[in-house]
């Protein structure tokens, strides 16, 4: 008697349908409206000593506290550390004489551009961190008043990745984008805040911003993934329990574990050449497969001894398959 079978190592997601499938778009992929822009985060290449020097050189600027300044035009600048860089958190003042400004989103962009152009002139160089992303936060009013209403809404949209929920704030992730429902006090309705990251290189070169490419992979083994990335010359590989990030050919890759399928989702940023990106993904797929083949080969040879089996022969066929014939004794 005999059977033939096909098997998938656990290093793969069982369903190969996941391969190259884009994550389904849900209604939370909001169309970002320019008028809803409320906050900008801009990473810089400043040293700690340069910030007080630069701020002192700005005209019409008042220091509010140790890290916060306000320009006479209503632009608020708050300095904070973000991913190891000093980052300017820019907002428009919402109260007092600035109530009358109706197009605050446009003013925020305009005044922020002017501010950084001034910094560039003072330091005689580009002061933004070219390798970084600028983060745009958009706010939308909602009619929701309770946490329960929102949790029901998220449940109905099959959103399960909700790392934080309190009476005044619910954070969640969809398609590798961060969102949060937030309200300042219990009397108010919640508003929705959406985060969009745009590589600075796209902004500086005036290109149309490229939304990060996101797709599912069928990779499940972290070690094999890291080995594959290393073999492809990836740099700055950083990993934790659920994430692997690296840089390759000027692109930033972020693999994050999908708890439902156990496979990694991939977000690629700073894509400048679409076909180069597609080729890289194909190469990584092939390399990951070869690494799994090697891993499986070593496991089988090691384990047959414990089962009183014997390797009768092994050969490599023309298609680079390894054929093992095992005598069951």
């Amino acid at each position: 008697m005999s059977i033939v079978l096909k098997a998938f190592p656990m290093g793969f997601l069982i369903s190969l349908d996941a391969k190259n499938n884009k994550i389904s778009t849900k209604k939370y992929d909001l169309k970002l409206e320019k008028d809803n822009l409320r906050l900008l985060k801009v990473a810089t290449n400043f040293t700690p000593a340069q910030i007080p020097y630069l701020m002192a050189n700005l005209e019409e600027c008042t220091q509010i506290d140790a890290n916060t300044y306000q320009m006479n035009n209503g632009l608020n600048i708050h300095w904070e550390l973000y991913n190891g860089n000093y980052c300017a958190v820019l907002t428009m003042e919402e109260t007092g004489i600035f109530d009358k400004i109706t197009n605050k989103a446009q003013m925020l962009v305009k005044y922020s551009e002017t501010l950084f152009n001034t910094f560039d002139v003072i330091l005689k160089k580009n002061t933004r961190d070219v390798g970084s992303e600028e983060i745009f936060y958009y706010c939308y009013n909602t009619h929701y008043k309770t946490k329960e209403e929102l949790l029901e809404l998220l449940k109905n949209n099959n959103i399960e990745n909700i790392p934080k929920q309190t009476e005044t704030e619910i954070r969640f992730r969809v398609n590798n984008k961060n969102y949060k429902y937030i309200r300042k006090d219990k009397k108010q309705n919640f508003y929705l805040e959406s985060e969009q990251k745009i590589p600075l290189v796209n902004i500086l070169s005036g290109q149309k911003p490229i939304t990060s490419k996101t797709q599912k992979t069928n990779y499940t083994y972290k070690e094999t993934l890291i080995k594959t990335l290393n073999e492809h010359g990836a740099t700055n590989i950083i990993s934790d329990e659920f994430n692997v990030t690296c840089e390759m050919f000027g692109m930033k890759l972020h693999y994050s574990k999908d708890f439902k399928s156990d496979a990694y989702n991939l977000e690629i940023m700073q894509i400048t050449n679409q076909s180069e990106c597609e080729q890289l993904l194909q190469d990584l797929d092939e390399e990951y497969g070869l690494n799994i083949q090697d891993l499986t080969y070593r496991k089988i040879l090691e384990r047959i001894k414990d089962k009183n089996m014997r390797l009768e022969s092994e050969e490599v066929s023309d298609d680079n398959s390894i054929v093992l014939t095992i005598d069951l004794g």
Partner: protein, 67 residues
């Protein structure tokens, strides 16, 4: 005793064929492969030989009980 012919493909997937294993026992080797390779058998096809042997087994057991 029989043999297992295991093919490790470059895309990481595995194919296996059993040879010369008597009875339905050959199905047990799907489990063995899963243990050897940390894998999950996704598709098992019985060959013509499997059905031929099953028919013979059935015929033989029926023949014995008839007698």
């Amino acid at each position: 005793m029989g043999k297992l012919k295991i093919k490790l493909l470059p895309d990481g997937t595995i194919e296996m064929e059993t040879k010369g294993i008597k009875g339905k026992k050959c199905l047990d080797y799907a489990k063995v492969l899963e243990q050897l390779a940390d894998a999950k058998a996704e598709k098992i096809d019985k060959t013509d030989e499997y059905y031929q042997d099953s028919y013979l087994e059935l015929y033989e057991s029926q023949h014995l009980s008839d007698n």
